[in-house]
Symmetry: C2
Subunit: 353 residues, 2 copies
């Protein structure tokens, strides 16, 4: 920390992303990447624009938003594109929270929500999940604060039905309800169709997980056009050229690859269900994940120890050293072959323990 850093940032604790291994031989199940490559039309779209990078991208992402509007059955002015969901969520918190308008969120959820509140000095109303990590919607009724709910939640994988979120939106007419659907395509249902009924509902999706584009950075925020205009005001005041040309082209192509999208999601779900059963057969407890990860624990070994043992055997998973999650591991669902390697190494570790 330099002596020039603003005192308003001196207590800030940044987010810690999952490790990036240097060796390619490492089995990387720690950042919920998709195990499949992007579809060929996405690769080709990127390659096609590479020779005109001297030109600025369209700061309004018009063609991309038009393609998305058609796909999600919305209007283009109901959609904003961001440099990953993280940027859109940051914009949303800047727009709809302030010192007098706290952010309500579950205690166990995506870690960035709390970090952004720290960065912007937004007070937090932290609402504990139930003992089994389920979210009781009634705890979010009549708050009239800005609310963020990851659905499915991370790192638990548990999902609410859209009707429950709709009810939360209806019961908070003076607060914006942000639904972070990063993992929705792996077996949960989206709240996008509820946008027409709730002017205070903002749905955030990412191309990093189900659309094989973590490396390209693309996310959408979707809601009624006044909410989106507010987000655009923040975006245009911070970084109007936030989505680069290659990513805009890739996003358009991705939305046209519905078959590949559905088939790869189906494969991830199938592998998740199979791997969950295999873990249960070995005495693990797993949550009912609707995401591309499993949240699991074993009574046979401390999770922090198992995390380290796996890392020593070149398998990276995610361990969150917080009171309610310290007995668990979050394991990305890879290909079936990758999960077989994981299970073999787990067997070896637990046998030797």
């Amino acid at each position: 920390m330099s002596r020039y850093l603003s005192p308003t940032l001196q207590d800030l604790v940044p987010y810690t992303p999952g490790d990036i291994p240097r060796r390619r031989s490492v089995l990387k199940l720690n950042t919920n990447e998709n195990p499949y490559p992007p579809p060929t039309p996405v690769i080709e779209a990127v390659r096609r624009v590479a020779d005109r990078l001297q030109l600025y991208p369209d700061p309004n992402c018009l063609k991309l938003r038009q393609a998305a509007a058609e796909y999600y059955e919305l209007e283009p002015d109901q959609i904003m594109a961001g440099n990953g969901s993280d940027e859109n969520l940051f914009f949303a918190l800047r727009a709809f929270c302030d010192a007098g308008r706290p952010l309500a969120r579950p205690d166990v959820t995506y870690g960035c929500y709390g970090v952004w509140c720290g960065l912007m000095h937004i007070p937090q109303h932290i609402i504990p999940l139930e003992k089994d990590f389920t979210l009781d919607p009634t705890r979010y009724y009549d708050l009239n604060e800005t609310i963020v709910i990851a659905n499915p939640n991370a790192p638990t994988g548990l999902a609410l039905p859209p009707e429950a979120i709709g009810e939360i939106a209806a019961r908070n007419p003076d607060g914006v309800v942000i639904v972070d659907e990063a993992y929705v395509d792996f077996g949960a249902r989206s709240c996008v169709p509820l946008i027409r009924d709730h002017e205070n509902l903002l749905v955030v999706q990412t191309f990093s997980k189900s659309r094989q584009m973590a490396g390209a950075r693309l996310g959408f925020a979707m809601g009624n056009k006044e909410l989106i205009a507010d987000l655009e005001r923040v975006r245009n005041s911070l970084n109007p050229y936030n989505v680069n040309q290659m990513t805009q082209a890739a996003g358009i192509a991705s939305l046209q690859c519905e078959g590949y999208f559905r088939e790869t999601c189906r494969q991830v779900i199938e592998t998740r269900e199979w791997a969950a059963q295999e873990l249960v057969r070995r005495g693990f407890v797993v949550t009912d994940s609707r995401a591309n990860f499993l949240f699991a624990r074993t009574p046979k070994m401390l999770s922090r120890v198992l995390f380290r043992e796996l890392r020593q055997r070149a398998v990276l998973v995610r361990y969150f050293d917080e009171p309610r999650t310290e007995h668990w591991l979050r394991i990305t669902v890879g290909t079936k072959e990758q999960m077989e390697i994981l299970l073999q190494r787990l067997d070896k570790i637990l046998k030797e323990a």
Copy 2:
């Protein structure tokens, strides 16, 4: 504006980027894009990574920062990569300004500085340029505020020698001096070599202009490692995966294309000098621009009218409707052929006027 927007944003006026024409036949001299495509190794680098976009980019941009460190003769921890210079400048203002620490800046300069202050409620100390748009360094002595100077300045194109900036840094030991070198490669001298002597000097460069990568979004912030650690703290609290995989690869490749880089800069400078003479021959007044644009005015026609006339003839230039700039136009330096078309259309407009 929705009724949910934070009252802290209701007076915010976002930045207005230059128009993006829909027709390709338009001569686009309004956003200071480079008229040449990126070099082949940059194109190939992008194409190579397109089939592994399912993986997150390295959030630390380690290889890119190592390549940059070698190029700029710095250490990797003296360099941070951002999603364009705009993001880095925003991070710097967040880190080094606050309600009690104003931003000092010229009255005529890059418009985003003021917008970011609006977004973050940072008070501004606006220091007028001299009547001829030159910057008197002594006006920046002993402020001990955070200072930002675009060098060369936009939209005037005028540059200070690094020694003058070094003296400003020396005379403000308790404030960070940010030098925005977006245009430095077109004939000004960089302050990067001064970093070792001034712990409070932060130099920001972009790949959008001289490196033909406006469409990829890449910028560097360079300074002593404590300043960079402060910026990393903000970046990691806002969007740790801010630079996508394709752009990291393109940036590394660009730094290895020194010959192409120097040659294309040389061509832009040569075209600028020629076009400046041609404008002067036609009675225009031009500043001594060291950037890839000309700042010009003619006594024969109001700039706002000339701007519109050019647009009607499919030539886009930039007009800033502010008191001190309203008599001027900012014209990007394209290829010599493009500048010939510009001059022909100017001749026609002025002849018919």
